[in-house]
């Protein structure tokens, strides 16, 4: 199932590397990625695809120190 997310991360390239690594490792295939620098943050819009429920990704992304917020767009957020 495809999901679109907007992730606000610290404006450092390693912060983007870090959350992309988490997405891959947790089993979410990257379909689209758009990066926009805004002051101290990057706004990353991305589409991922996986058979796994999306909360398994959002809960891991929310743990990352550099991630300020994770917003899920296209589908209703599945309850934990």
């Amino acid at each position: 199932m495809k999901h679109q997310l907007t992730v606000a991360v610290k404006n450092q390239s390693v912060a983007v590397e870090r959350f992309l690594r988490v997405a891959r490792h947790r089993g979410f295939r990257l379909m689209q990625l758009q990066l926009e620098g805004q002051d101290e943050l990057f706004l990353v819009k991305m589409t991922v695809d996986s058979e796994k429920p999306i909360y398994l990704l959002t809960s891991q992304l929310n743990k990352l120190v550099d991630v300020q917020s994770v917003d899920l767009h296209t589908l209703q957020q599945q309850a934990i």
């Binding site: 909360y55 809960s59 891991q60 929310n62 743990k63 550099d66 934990i80």
Partner: protein, 553 residues
């Protein structure tokens, strides 16, 4: 007015001011300014003989005390050698600060001598990592790193510091954790959890390593005393449930006790306290505690529902969530059934052979050492026998590489534990395979005259792999024969460590007495039967009530 010093001096200054008294490491080119600042500083550095040894010593230091462990390594191979210890600390949620030297800023990206992209390498094996890019950021980064390592769910944090930043004059800027938003507890399910507790007729407490991380043994025991609920422990939790607790069933999972596994399979409510439904615990997940509703208590929201759905979850420090549970006394017939299983499936030590029986040796050792002895394991059959046959009164007394399962953990972890707790006896129990993985650390024991006791259970095999080859790979013993091992007592003697070899069951009691009464480091080399297996065993893909035992073979 901010005081100015070099970056290297700042590193040492901040560590000292934050109360760090001991660090482990190995110097090299890109971290030389920090080692220069260390010279004469009020911070004791322990030189290990491999950076992995430094990493595991810091892990042992942290796990045996609950304090932050700190290790240093240089760039390139120094940092890559730390990676296994970082991964181990990540899997077992150990608070660890790793400081690595890096090539100078101007040389980064040029494939300079001893240059590795350590920041990139750290992404999968740390809770967080930094590379200090500007001298003025150093103080803040270090303080933040130390805070991150110990806060929330603890873990390893790495700070990579280019050599020019270590040499630059840097200002000190105070940083306060108060400026960081603290995670608020999520306790919405509390009423539901208490309702589930009230209705349960066969409740089981499934206790994990989170109890140690949260220093929540008193809160756990208060809950258990109130409910008299049977308790099963993960490998990392062992010691959290006090051994005198009437319904302590020991470890569950692949090599868990039969009573623990059967109780979980039968239960109708599983109260998961700081555990994460690891595959070695659950066996076939679909069949794990299939009749049970789950109440999941954890500080990490990402663990809720990761492997098994929870009917109710409390995301908070266990010292906050556990006291909120309104425990009711577990039904008498369930407790009677548990007591019956405890008697029915109790361990037996009346081994008929003349050879040394490892479970007996370990059980005897457990009885004969002082209560606050720290036991550090390596990985394999001996590790499971320790988990099954030794008793611990606190999780900081049982250091075992759980999630990562790292051979070579035991000896350096014992070094770290002995330095952290010099007044307690520290024993590493290892196998003839594992001990060779970090054998160079005997030199660290010698250098510091550390009274670390070493027990090697020697079956001249990579025993756990051999056991699986016997059971699941048609007895094709590929690369598991170690009958060309060195003479371990002679090997230890070269490092000034006395000891003895035993081969017969009749020698065990006296040998343990000698080990316990030895004043300095000591090695007990116990030769055991190479065909001995660890029982019970839940085979791969099976449910936890489908255990193989010696008698089913």
């Amino acid at each position: 007015m901010s005081k100015t010093m070099t970056g290297a001096q700042m590193v040492i200054d901040i560590l000292v001011k934050q109360g760090i008294s001991d660090v482990f490491g190995y110097p090299g080119g890109a971290i030389m300014p920090i080692y220069d600042a260390l010279y004469g500083a009020p911070l004791k550095h322990y030189l290990t003989r491999h950076e992995q040894g430094a990493g595991f010593a810091a892990v042992g230091y942290a796990r045996s005390t609950g304090k932050l462990g700190v290790c240093f390594a240089t760039s390139g191979p120094g940092a890559t050698n730390l990676v296994t210890a970082l991964a181990d600390a990540m899997m077992d949620s150990v608070p660890l600060l790793a400081i690595t030297g890096q090539v100078p800023t101007a040389a980064i990206g040029s494939d300079a001598f001893q240059e590795v992209d350590v920041l990139g390498m750290s992404l999968s094996c740390t809770k967080h990592s930094f590379m200090v890019e500007r001298a003025e950021d150093l103080a803040e980064v270090l303080q933040q790193a130390m805070h991150l390592a110990v806060s929330g769910r603890p873990g390893p944090v790495l700070v990579d510091i280019p050599k020019d930043i270590q040499q630059a004059l840097v200002p000190f800027s105070p940083w306060s954790a108060d400026t960081q938003a603290q995670e608020a507890p999520i306790l919405n399910d509390l009423a539901l959890a208490n309702e589930l507790l009230k209705k349960a007729s066969k409740p089981v407490a499934y206790v994990g390593g989170g109890v140690h991380s949260a220093d929540a043994q008193p809160a756990l025991m208060a809950f258990l005393e109130q409910t008299q609920m049977p308790a099963v422990s993960t490998l990392k939790a062992l010691g959290s449930v006090l051994p005198e607790y009437e319904y302590d069933l020991g470890m569950l999972g692949m090599h868990g006790t039969k009573a623990a596994n059967l109780a979980v399979q039968e239960c109708d409510l599983l109260v998961c306290i700081g555990a994460r439904f690891d595959d070695r615990v659950t066996g076939n997940l679909a069949k794990f505690a299939a009749k049970a509703k789950v109440i999941h208590l954890d500080i990490d929201a990402a663990e809720i529902g990761k492997r098994k759905p929870a009917a109710a979850s409390l995301v908070a420090d266990l010292n906050v969530s556990l006291p909120l549970l309104q425990g009711v006394l577990a039904p008498a017939d369930w407790r009677a059934h548990i007591s019956h299983m405890q008697r029915e499936y109790a361990w037996r030590y009346d081994y008929p052979g003349e050879k040394v029986f490892a479970p007996y040796l370990l059980n005897k050792l457990s009885h004969d050492v002082p209560q606050d002895t720290v036991v550090c394991c390596d990985v394999g059959q001996h590790q499971m026998w320790v988990a099954q046959h030794m008793k611990f009164s606190h999780p900081s007394n049982h250091l075992s590489s759980g999630g990562a399962g790292t051979m070579g953990f035991g000896l350096p972890a014992a070094i770290g534990a002995k330095i952290a707790r010099p007044d307690n006896m520290v024993i590493t129990v290892s196998g003839d395979g594992s001990i060779m993985m970090n054998i160079q650390e005997l030199a660290t024991i010698r250098r510091n005259n550390l009274a670390v006791k070493i027990v090697i259970l020697d079956n001249q095999r990579l025993g756990m792999v051999r056991q699986w080859q016997e059971l699941f790979f048609s007895a094709r013993y590929s690369e598991t024969n170690l009958s060309d091992n060195p003479d371990f007592v002679q090997l230890a003697a070269v490092f000034g460590i006395p000891g003895q070899t035993i081969t017969h069951a009749s020698e065990v009691d006296d040998a343990i007495e000698k080990l316990v009464n030895s004043s300095g480091p000591y090695i007990l080399h116990a030769c055991i039967d190479d065909k001995e297996n660890v029982w019970p065993l839940v085979p791969p893909g099976a449910a936890n009530d489908e255990m193989l035992t010696e008698n089913t073979q």
